[in-house]
Amino acid sequence: MATKSQKTAEAALNSFATGPDDRGFFGIFGGRFVAETLMPLILDLERAYETAKNDPEFQRELDHLSLHYAGRPSPLYYAERMTAELGGAKIYFKREELNHTGSHKINNCLGQILLARRMGKTRIIAETGAGQHGVAVATVCAKYGMPCEIYMGATDVERQAPNVARMSLLGAKLNPVTSGAGTLKDAMNEALRDWVTNVHDTYYLIGTAAGPHPYPAMVRDFQAIIGNEVRAQMMEAEGRLPDTLVACIGGGSNAIGLFHPFLDDKDVAIYGVEAGGHGLNVENGHAASMTGGSPGVLHGNRTYLLQDGDGQILEGHSISAGLDYPGVGPEHSWLKDIGRVSYVAITDKEALEALQLCTKLEGIIPALEPSHALGLVIKLAPKLPKDNLLVINLSGRGDKDLFTVAKHLGMKI
């Protein structure tokens, strides 16, 4: 953990947006902690991504797909009734749930599938929690006619039935993972085992801004379109930048995508919302790696983890399958330690209440993941002045969660 003097030293940096370093570190976080079999692949990937990033043709192709396939830019919508109800900050929704496939996940998948094709890979694997990333991967694989296998925890397969059906329809092979608690971390273990076995032809399309370098930086870059659009859209709507940003954090890809273009705008207050589950005081009852965990090394990077005193990883809990991951992207861990972003936790109950409020006031059913971010907005907005421009990233739509929500609210479907 960063000491106070470290914090002061790092806060004196000219920019918060230049990381990672050439070994993939954000401060002490990140890096490349993988088995030797994978090291040459990860170094290859880093080179291929650097080349692609600087190739105008790659960017042109991605822009074209974003416009015509994903449906970007996503709107920045003024949530008038929610604003009136909470009586404080002026609330805007960044409507990532309107993207093709229903979440921000498509942004990253389009970028990585283009990269995989450039690298001559012929088989795609991925992990998924809520199934949003799995659906996005299956979608781009269908579009490009590439075989894909998705690893998904058996518990998640059960609680995310609609997304399971979508992936199958899209032609993906779904591999339910029964090891551990059968959730996202176990799915990621199995995907890594597949990759290490099929290194010659397989591309691992990681869905969040975590894993070994270069994934955290690459996924962030592909998601930064969210924040870049918000800058332009807010300038157009209000003639200035927003004052407050809020996003939910599992691995943290939608959040880093929104935050990153604003890190050097010191007047913009930034909040990341973790899954508080049953509450941070309930042992193994939450998935808040940063607000309720400690630094460690898992899945290729050093970052905050949910773990016991012996370094064994805990499963965590959240009502939202997309947030119950025991780690978090390393850039978030760094931003927490240097104090640039405030990280807080919202419980299952608060998220459920926020989901209902948003649905009733705005006619938008958010996914359980961004409902955590909405949960913070409900607490935060009333305390802020009316001219405070607040943007919350509505990272996914709630259709996939209807069964879970109905069950918790005692409704019959």
Binding site: R32, E36, K185, T197, P295, H299, G300, D310, Q312
Partner: protein
């Protein structure tokens, strides 16, 4: 890189004299429980193991197949942790001064224990070497260099994907021996192709004076013998922990068969390697 000779160096020197490849056996510390695990180490030596690889159990063993995953889970369920793992080594070392022990596992339990403290306590307990699967040469300053400085061997894995450009980086700070991973994959799954393994071992041996041993997917005496030609030793892990698993009672408790069957398997492996 270490100048002074370790137990591992001494053991390989003795084996070279005998013109015999090393039999390196892997078990997970605390599997199926603390007491049985302690006794199993003696059984391994008694049955002919030359070096013991002792797994530090981890909740998320990403490079391991089902057999070693299950073994790690059994150990953790029985209450194993890093302190107890070092205790097993300390107790063994009081009884056996010669057989090298290599701790093998993943970085996180070490990192959480504290790298410096871990190296100091491991050395004091009588550990001779470390294999940490997810700390590549790119991160040598974190654990490898301090371990070497403390007089521990740091054993690196080379794999079929370690090409000739990368091999020097892998070998640079390796000591004790080089562990060649015979397949691209996880432990205990596919069987290695013997001819490929021989070529790769030859390639690695031409770049280092260190002994080169082969592991991942070696299950029987016959296979061990074929694989060991041209190499300095073979590692058997999944086959042993599977044998432990199969010997357990209905509630996962050790039975009178547990130690017996492990002993039989290791004896078979040992005699296959000695028969020349």
């Amino acid at each position: 890189m270490t100048k002074h000779e370790t137990r591992i160096d001494a053991r390989f020197a003795a084996l070279r004299k005998d013109k015999r490849p090393a039999l390196i056996t892997f078990v997970t510390a605390g599997d199926p429980d603390f007491e049985t695990s302690k006794a199993l180490l003696d059984d391994l030596v008694e049955a002919g193991a030359d070096i013991i690889e002792l797994g530090m159990p981890f909740s998320d063993p990403m490079a391991d197949g089902p057999a070693i995953q299950a073994s790690s889970q059994r150990a953790l369920k029985a209450g194993q942790n890093m302190h107890k793992t070092l205790q097993i080594v300390r107790d063994f070392r009081a009884r056996d001064q010669a057989t090298p022990i290599v701790l093998m596992g993943y970085y996180n339990p070490i990192y959480v224990y504290g790298n410096e403290r871990f190296i100091k306590d491991a050395k004091a307990a009588g550990v001779d070497g470390l294999i940490v699967v997810d700390v590549p040469p790119e991160a040598d300053d974190e654990l490898c260099l301090p371990a070497l400085k403390a007089g521990l061997n740091f054993i690196r894995l080379a794999t079929p994907t370690t090409d000739k450009e990368r091999l020097p980086a892998v070998l640079k700070n390796t000591s004790g021996f080089v562990y060649y991973v015979s397949i691209t994959g996880i432990t205990g799954t596919a069987a290695p192709v013997v001819a490929d393994v021989h070529n790769q071992v030859k390639r690695i041996k031409s770049s280092t004076p260190l002994p080169v041993v082969v592991g991942f997917g070696v299950r029987s005496g016959e296979q061990a013998r074929a694989i060991s030609k041209g190499a300095d030793g073979v590692v058997v892990g999944s086959a042993i922990v599977s044998t432990i698993e199969k010997s357990l009672g209905l509630k996962g408790e050790p039975t009178s068969d547990t130690r017996k069957r492990v002993t039989e398997l290791v004896r078979e492996l040992s005699s296959a390697l000695s028969a020349d």
